[in-house]
Symmetry: C2
Subunit: 315 residues, 2 copies
Amino acid sequence: MAPRSVQPVILIVEPFGGSTRLHNPNLPMVYWDDAAVTRGDGVFETLLIRDGKPVNIERHARRFLASATLLGLPEPDLNYWHRATDEAAMEWYRQQGQTPAEGFRGEAQCVWTYTRGRASTGNPTAWIRVNSLPAEMIQQREQGVAVMTTPRGWTINTELPGVYVAAEGKVPQSPAPWLTVGAKTLNYAAAMAALRYAKDRGFDDVVWLGADGESVLEGATSTVVMEKKGKRLRTPSSGGEILPGTTQAALFDYAHSQGWKCKEKPLTVTDLKSARSVWLLSSVRGAVPVTRIDDTCLEPHDLDELRQLFQAAMH
Amino acid sequence: MAPRSVQPVILIVEPFGGSTRLHNPNLPMVYWDDAAVTRGDGVFETLLIRDGKPVNIERHARRFLASATLLGLPEPDLNYWHRATDEAAMEWYRQQGQTPAEGFRGEAQCVWTYTRGRASTGNPTAWIRVNSLPAEMIQQREQGVAVMTTPRGWTINTELPGVYVAAEGKVPQSPAPWLTVGAKTLNYAAAMAALRYAKDRGFDDVVWLGADGESVLEGATSTVVMEKKGKRLRTPSSGGEILPGTTQAALFDYAHSQGWKCKEKPLTVTDLKSARSVWLLSSVRGAVPVTRIDDTCLEPHDLDELRQLFQAAMH
């Protein structure tokens, strides 16, 4: 058995609120007929826990609710999920040998999963897991990442009714049948395939491009942000091809309050290559600087100002 | 506990060949860190078992192998999967009270699942399940289905290298990173959302259309085939937007040998509405006649000739 400290905490939660139950991660958990396993039919959120507290939880909760609504899952009780997250986090710190009296220290990854559940019961399945940050993530925060750009290979028709609204992270009045667009579903097989492909070729991550092979969409599991001279931040316009980023939204809100000019607008690979700095933003890995785009090494600039801005924004 | 006879048989198989193990379906089976659960990162095939034998297994095995290769999963040993399928099927008939001496009778559904497995072990996970046919399927074979047409909402760029070949069910020489196109992955959340939407509106199934809102792609989990006068069968050209159908391929091969003219060519909704008959083909539900397309009831024709052709083709 793995040492106690690297084991995740798994907290089974009841989709309609109610009791919670710690699950031994060494035992199987999901049944053969759970829609998560048979169809990838479920939604998730990944949060950072820092010093005992979930970071940016309101935005995650909002997207979680939108994802569940878009998939026609029963509305999750967000207060209950919030309390259960605290419970799971506290258990994780306890397993690290920390006590509430001393105050919790350090970071953890937290994943909320909510599936359509077992075909045989019709009840959704839900759980929260808390685990240590992968060592690779911590290294990438420090050293940055080399990214491969590639066309995504598919295009969403945002002119269909409801699609654009959903892709912005909102729930449209008249939802269209294809409305897993905009929902953060478990269907990440393509993103995982792209990451494997990139890693085989010496890259750390992938940035998706539009069909023109030049316009920037998003990272495989992150949002692209670039910094320009004069305290300006840019990210590709969300909606349609791009899942709205909770971390980018938190950064832009805070940066704006600190006098930065923050804009969503179409960006190209050429824009990125001439930026002061380029970042991939995601909840747990945080803000990682891009050091290379395909064959082009980015000129090193002072990254500390943006690192500090990001740290301050994440609460 | 559900009565014995309606329980599925679950046979855990070893991805690299080796022993098999019957799993009690009343107990959980999949671990928290299995890529099937966290990312929908796996492939599957659904087969019909008829009178003790898997139907059309060579084509399913070929697509299974292509799916696994496209996702970079270790090559499955198809002889081993074949033997394990026989073992699971025999156990299912045994649980129905049948014995090999009398000969097995009746149909069952069989699903092969093969996932990237647990993050903590790096070993793929694989299992075979055999269960009774859902009553709804049997009813739909007899009574046909009403289908809703709708644009799929996304378009695959088949001009990117490798994509067209993969979409035809083959493994391209230089695979592109987005090559879950053409693989039958567990990422069916969108298809399930579309089916729920259609059922809420009084339809039984969905037929996806291209971006023009008129060209026919495929059913949510089936292939569209139409019959024209003069013993002619048509299906939309596969590749790109359409997963190649194993059942349609088996039907066309057999029909061709019986003097039918069978063609893959672009089809429109107007073509379907003026066809002699329209069918949705899939492995387990088989050939179901379409009785209504959106608001248009199709004129009833004699369906027996095609039903018999289909029955004869499926072995």
